[in-house]
């Protein structure tokens, strides 16, 4: 799973998708995950990073990550390629 080409992510959490013209605001955790995806990190690593950064147990981190990922998919911000 990776962030689609040309998606702009600003440090303050503003996301712009130039393919659809949609823009979004995400919180600090959202930016954290999106940056990791953009850097090409795999899902296991991102979940581990979330656990470390936010002191989460494995199941909460995995559930929150997957929820966020399905949101990203529904807004065409990530792709399987």
């Amino acid at each position: 799973m990776r962030v689609r080409k040309n998606i702009a992510i600003s440090e303050n959490g503003f996301i712009f998708n130039p393919l659809t013209g949609d823009s979004f605001s995400v919180n600090e955790t959202g930016v954290f995950i999106l940056q990791k995806l953009k850097d090409g990190e795999n899902e296991e690593t991102i979940i581990r990073n979330l656990m470390d950064e936010y002191e989460l147990d494995a199941s909460t981190a995995e559930k929150d990550f997957n929820d966020f990922l399905s949101l990203l998919k529904s807004f065409q911000l990530v792709t399987n390629e």
Partner: protein, 349 residues
């Protein structure tokens, strides 16, 4: 750098809540880096706001309504040409284009006014009523459309088409009907305003995306910019929009312009479905009212059109900035009655 002085006549000064493209076209021309453009505005009604925009429109002449025909239009332009040396004329209304296309050669040979319009055949090819054939010819998906002259024909179409249906006028207006009762009411509404035929179109669900484009008439697409509306008025007009970066949409748009050998500005209206398919809803034969966004993204289409009309070679634009937005606003101009009187009684100001 010394800018070359030219005079361009422009119609579509109705910069109202459903705006004509005239003022955005003029803004593009005024921002040319190589041309110093004097604008002669051509109006149809005395309350078109552009008439009174002295910073953009240097002189204004009234034109006869398109229903008066091409001979009356030519006569009026002959008078205007005796007062002004007009280098290029850009018509911006769908309903007037037929007359201008008809007299374009005479304008050049008799009055030395250049235009940059398609031929009548190519103009007719993309008429709303011919959309099915147009899509087939150029390999573009289009919604199923039928032209009807009687309201009862909607009943016959119900056998092959499902509601909602889109009921459209031949030039403007489109209504979404959820039932026969609504469809028949919209039918009469459209007929009262635009006459026959009425177009009944399949409703394609998705996101509307539009492209403003410019063709050189020889098979090249000189420029194209894609936009999605962000805010729509109750008349369905964009009050705000944003430029997109969509390679497939650009490829389809270029194919339409190149294969049809379109000459001049145009607007392509598409629906992008959830399956990422693009359906062409309409090809409007003139610049859209949001054409100034193209300028804001780095493609000055009105300037390029004027240069081509003057016989110059224009290199195609290769890219533009996505994420540029336009946000319209309304503005009250204060006009003295004497100026209104001038245009009302003399037909010019």
């Amino acid at each position: 750098m010394n800018k070359r002085k030219i005079t361009v006549a422009v119609t579509g000064l109705n910069n109202i809540d459903s705006p004509g493209p005239g003022i955005p076209v003029i803004r593009g021309l005024k921002e040319s880096e190589t041309l110093d453009v004097r604008i002669v505005g051509l109006s149809y009604e005395t309350l078109e706001p552009g008439i009174y925009m002295h910073n953009l429109v240097d002189k204004v002449y009234q034109l006869p309504l398109p229903t008066a025909g091409s001979a009356v239009l030519k006569e009026r332009l002959r008078y205007i040409a005796s007062q002004e040396k007009i280098d290029v004329l850009i018509p911006n209304f769908d309903a007037e284009l037929h007359n201008f296309i008809k007299i374009q050669d005479d304008l050049k040979s008799e009055l030395n006014i250049a235009t940059f319009l398609p031929s009548q055949a190519i103009f007719d090819e993309r008429q709303k009523s011919e959309l099915g054939k147009f899509g087939e010819k150029y390999g573009i998906k289009v919604p199923e459309s039928h032209m009807i002259n009687q309201v009862l024909e909607i009943r016959k179409l119900e056998g092959s088409m499902n509601y909602p249906l889109v009921i459209k006028g031949r030039y403007y207006d489109a209504y979404i009907a959820l039932s026969y009762e609504q469809a028949s009411s919209f039918f009469y509404k459209v007929v009262a305003k635009w006459g026959y035929p009425v177009i009944v179109q399949e409703f394609v669900t998705g996101t509307e995306v539009n492209v403003t484009a410019l063709g050189d008439g020889k098979g090249s697409c000189i420029g194209a910019v894609a936009m999605r509306k962000l805010y729509i008025t109750d008349k369905g007009k964009a009050w705000s929009g944003i430029s997109l970066e969509d390679d497939e949409l650009m490829a389809i748009s270029r194919r339409v312009i190149e294969n049809s050998k379109w000459r001049g500005g145009c607007e392509l209206e598409f629906i992008k479905t959830k399956k990422d398919e693009y359906y062409l809803l309409e090809m409007n034969p003139r610049f859209p009212a949001w054409v100034y966004l193209a300028n804001g993204c780095g493609q000055n289409h009105p300037e390029a059109l004027v240069k081509m009309a003057l016989g110059e070679e224009v290199k195609p634009f290769t890219d533009y900035q996505s994420g540029k937005m336009f946000i319209r606003y309304s503005y009250d101009q204060i006009v003295d009655i004497s100026e209104f009187q001038q245009i009302s009684t003399m037909g010019e100001r």
